[in-house]
């Protein structure tokens, strides 16, 4: 019986959301006692696959078999009862409940309706096991940092005693020590016969952990192979369907040091998330911001755009101080900053409104409250949509009917039509298909050539390495290192992000 080792099998799975197909006819299986890495670009369908397995969504077509028997999950609780547990990338903790209650509620053990004390003891043990001993069970989750929440999320998954454990970017906010501790627990689980599905963007994590690797691209399962069978470049090529050289525009000429900066940030501090941040961006430059999640790189851009209150330090635009910052003042003609927020769906767009209405939103009322249309800008919108090759049915359709990549194009057009001098982007290619990615990279490169100052925060190391002139790596709210030229490599980025300055110096010595 070949089926005995196959814990779970998917055959012919398709999942569509309205016009968007997230998974196309996927066949996939994984075996007990293995660590199986799932690789793919953002938007390749990994998260959709995990949600299917965790019972959060049901497939549009196809069959899921557990131990060889077809199965339908009524919900996450049902899947967990069958031993399929997911640690969600979008954290699933209820902020007003305590750590203990969050963990215990995922698998309530009760007697006469009352939750048992033993449940809390188990929860404590799970936290201790992954090295989160200092997180108190009676602490409300909203008081925890992002990294601590991730640990609680992992403990919560362990608490459910999974046969199949899905770790979806489980360690994106964790430092090096915490990651190692979690990995050793994951190996123990594997040795005890658990199947672990592991999604990560960090190749070195995949190399150190995975037994098997499956690559997804554009909602399809491309290939599965044993770890080590395909080298790094080969895997990247499988993931993006082309080589990196094709994905990124050719390098631009570096901007001379003597050019006066357009945007200068001096001694910026905010709450306990930013400490004395300093950097300059010159016109024509793409300045990258990297680091682990939650180390302040997003906050810097929000602070510059005027979203945060109580920011200390100075911001200068074109040599003039820019104080009392608000989004309204930032987009004004004399300042000219544009801002592409992190969460397209809730911050960037109004999903139920039409494409045109969304696109016009930032420009509306810029020339006074009575003049409705500005011919120049309308022409600009058209040119941008054409330039970005927007795929759509009608401009009257709600923007929610577009795919993620096309939504991002609308969002870019919305801001670029205002002719900004400086554009701030928060992870603009997250969850976007490869073709659109290449288009956005080309656009950013062209904008830089045309003299715009671009600040790009990204979680994608390749993007930072191949697109940016210089990259500031954040660690605990300040810039740990600024990398450029030869030093700008994925290895250096990762080690700086994890606070390991030693490795970076070693490479420096070698270079």
């Amino acid at each position: 019986m070949s089926n005995t080792s196959r814990l779970i099998e998917l055959s012919g799975i398709t999942k569509t959301y309205g016009p968007v197909t997230a998974l196309k006819n996927v066949d996939f299986s994984c075996a007990a006692g293995t660590i199986h890495a799932i690789l793919g670009e953002n938007g390749a369908g990994k998260s959709t696959l995990m949600k299917l397995l965790a019972g959060v969504i049901v497939p549009t077509a196809g069959e899921i078999r557990l131990d060889g028997n077809a199965i339908h999950f009524a919900g996450p609780r049902d899947a967990a009862d069958n031993g399929l547990v997911c640690m969600f990338q979008e954290l699933s903790l209820m902020p007003n409940l305590t750590v203990g209650n969050n963990i215990v509620l995922s698998r309530p053990q009760s007697r006469f309706g009352f939750l048992c004390r033993s449940g809390y003891q188990e929860a404590r043990a799970c936290l201790d096991r992954i090295g989160a001993g200092k997180i108190a069970l009676d602490c409300p989750v909203h008081e925890l940092t992002l990294a601590e929440r991730q640990l609680v999320e992992i403990a919560k998954a362990l608490y459910q005693k999974p046969r199949l454990l899905i770790l979806d970017e489980a360690t994106s906010a964790l430092g090096a020590d915490a990651v190692e501790k979690v990995f050793s627990v994951v190996r123990e689980l594997r040795d005890a016969g658990t199947c672990v599905l592991f999604i990560s963007h960090r190749f070195h994590e995949v190399h150190s952990l995975a037994d098997k690797i499956s690559v997804f691209r554009n909602g399809s399962h491309v290939q599965t192979f044993a770890a080590g069978a395909v080298d790094h470049d080969g895997i990247v090529a499988l993931m993006i369907g082309q080589s990196l050289e094709q994905l990124f525009p050719p390098p631009r000429k570096p901007i001379a040091e003597s050019v006066a900066p357009l945007l200068s940030v001096r001694d910026m501090s905010w709450a306990d998330e930013l400490k004395d941040v300093n950097f300059d961006v010159r016109p024509g430059e793409i300045y990258g911001l990297g680091g682990l999640e939650g180390h302040g790189q997003q906050r810097v851009l929000e602070a510059v755009f005027g979203v945060l209150r109580g920011v200390s330090g100075r911001v200068e635009i074109g040599g003039k101080p820019f104080g009392r910052r608000t989004p309204f003042r930032s987009k004004s003609e004399e300042i000219g900053i544009a801002f592409i927020p992190e969460d397209r769906k809730t911050e960037g767009m109004i999903p139920s409104m039409s494409i045109t209405d969304n696109m016009r939103l930032a420009g509306l009322g810029r020339d006074g409250l009575l003049t409705q249309d500005n011919q120049v800008r309308e022409a600009h919108y058209k040119a941008l949509l054409h330039r970005l090759d927007l795929v759509y049915g009608s401009l009257e359709d709600p923007v929610a009917s577009l795919s993620g990549g096309n939504q991002q194009k609308v969002l870019l057009s919305k801001w670029l039509a205002l002719n900004p001098r400086c554009i701030l982007l928060l992870d603009p290619t997250r969850g976007i298909d490869v073709k659109t990615k290449a288009q956005i990279y080309q656009l950013l490169s062209d904008l830089a050539e045309a003299g715009m100052a671009i600040v790009l925060q990204s979680t994608d190391y390749e993007e930072l390495v191949h697109l940016c002139d210089r990259v500031a790596v954040f660690y605990h709210g300040s810039i740990a290192r600024e990398l450029s030229g030869e030093m700008l490599t994925p290895t250096n980025l990762i080690s700086a992000a994890m606070g390991l300055s030693g490795i970076a110096h070693a490479t420096e010595a070698a270079a």
């Binding site: 755009f305 979203v307 989004p327 801002f339 927020p341 045109t356 209405d357 939103l361 058209k382 009257e396």
Partner: protein
């Protein structure tokens, strides 16, 4: 497929298509008219219908403000006290023995309404208090303050002649109140469909966050909307004072429920961001006809409430299932 873009469409035309909610309520109005005509033939006489339009006008004007606030995703529960307060204010100023002051009755009433709206708006937009509780508190405070002011007695005063002309008189046989309402309908529809402010209102009701990040002064939009709502309430109050030729304690109390109901059954989402004043207009007509029929049928108050609640609930549920089917 990629289309080549010739011109960007002007403001979205899709929103002009008839909302199924409006269709449903309009059908409801016709059903009510048929029932009314069968039970009580003179129900369909032009005189009676014009009177209904006149009564609906007061509701409709007040509900214009509520529509704006609800489109923005908030709610204004201070309407009852605001109506009473403005009516008392207007008649008191109108009753001044100095004719130069008495002339100012209506402007003072409008400013009073705007002020109430401003207080509501500042609490909601600047201090970010939940609109439901804040406006409820304002409502109570106004109600109490009015008792201080009038000493608990029926306030003495004179209704300004203009408000009597607007509320009671007719031009070419058509009630002035209805003509005025038509002007309000045109004005508000233009405001919502053709101005930048209107775009802001719909966008803010959908996602305040996205609007803020688009560099729009959300707080200003919100405060302005509450002020506008206060002014519409004030206009309604001045008309009501003219209609009753007096102001009295509690004159606005019966208006809160019909105002919110008119807005909501007219297809405006209580969560904000989608809806229209046209829907509110049809909703106001429906509610006026419904209460008129219930009183023509000489139903006791108890049944009127039950039928009222049940019909609203049915319409909301029907719309729900209509939407999930699509």
């Amino acid at each position: 497929m990629t289309q080549s873009i010739k011109t960007l469409p002007r403001l979205s035309l899709s929103r002009y298509a008839i909302d199924p909610a409006i269709f449903l309520v309009a059908t409801g109005c016709i059903v009510l008219l048929v029932i009314g005509g069968i039970v009580y033939p003179s129900f369909l006489s032009p005189g009676y219908l014009l009177q209904q339009l006149q009564i609906a006008s007061f509701l409709g004007v007040i509900a214009a403000g509520a529509t704006l606030v609800i489109l923005l995703g908030y709610i204004d529960l201070s309407v009852p006290s605001a109506i009473t307060a403005v009516a008392v204010l207007t008649t008191t100023v109108g009753g001044s023995s100095n004719p130069e002051i008495a002339v100012l009755a209506i402007p003072v009433g409008l400013v009073g309404g705007a002020l109430i709206g401003l207080i509501n708006g500042i609490g909601v937009a600047i201090f970010r208090l939940p609109s439901m509780v804040w406006t409820l508190a304002i409502n109570s405070m106004l109600m109490g303050a009015l008792v201080f002011f009038t000493g608990g007695f029926k306030p003495r005063g004179v209704t300004p002649p203009l408000s009597i002309t607007l509320a009671l008189d007719r031009t070419l046989g058509i009630p002035n109140a209805f003509l005025f309402w038509i002007a309000v309908i045109l004005g508000v529809s233009l405001l919502l469909r053709r101005t930048i402010y209107g775009r802001y209102v719909f966008a803010t009701g959908n996602s305040e966050k996205a609007v803020f990040l688009s560099g729009i002064r959300v707080r200003l939009v919100t405060v302005l909307t509450f002020v506008a709502a206060g002014v519409f309430t004030a206009i309604g109050a001045i008309l009501l004072a003219g209609y009753a030729n007096q102001a009295y304690q509690g004159m606005g109390d019966t208006y809160l429920m019909p105002v919110i109901t008119a807005v909501v059954i007219g297809g405006t989402s209580i969560l904000g961001g989608c809806g229209s004043y046209a829907g509110t207009v049809v909703g106001a007509l429906f509610i006026t006809l419904l209460s008129s029929i219930l009183s023509v049928l000489q139903m006791p108050e108890a049944f009127r409430q039950i039928v009222f609640g049940a019909i609203i609930l049915t319409m909301l549920l029907m719309r729900r299932f209509d939407r999930s089917n699509r």
